[in-house]
Symmetry: C2
Subunit: 104 residues, 2 copies
């Protein structure tokens, strides 16, 4: 089984009130030095078949027509290596140190 | 300027109605072969200073206390290479083919 990740972010020229709210809150909470925050969506799609060019083209079509609003959002499709250690003990994510090759 | 990405996903054992809605809709829309969809959040944080171990530790603290609800969510902190070509012409994201090293 293969996993493909689709990251959807607002285009740089589109105002991001959620990200701004986070960015403004950080100094109040004692965290300085963060100059900008943008918030977007991450979709993890598990595929039954192999991740070949045809599958990626199909996922790009899904992302462009259904997961992202391409008027205001950019998306990025990436293949993610799956490891057998998805969870960690203390809230942070697993031990997956796989490189993620950017695929569009 | 450096960019750090924080991915926040529901833990595997937590029900994800948003992802399920997407997964169930795909066959109706003509896309078969997607066995599971999980939806989460992606935060892009721009840092004023260098991305050293201290900065990453601070961002892990921000992520664990503020960006993610660690009772139900896992998070992952990654350093992202910044390129000068952020946007693309046609809705898909930019031409950033940088490898993203997983850093926790």
């Amino acid at each position: 089984m293969a996993r493909v990740v689709v990251d959807v972010m607002l285009k740089p020229e589109i105002l991001d009130p959620q990200g701004q709210a986070v960015q403004r809150a950080l100094p109040r909470l004692g965290f300085e030095g963060i100059t900008d925050v943008r918030q977007g969506k991450r979709f993890e799609l598990d595929l039954a078949g192999p991740v070949d060019e045809a599958a990626l083209a199909r996922i790009r079509e899904i992302a462009g027509t259904f997961l992202a609003n391409t008027v205001i959002e950019d998306f990025e499709v990436r293949v993610e290596e799956l490891t057998d250690a998805p969870g960690a003990a203390t809230g942070s994510a697993g031990d997956n140190a796989a490189e993620e090759g950017a695929v569009r």
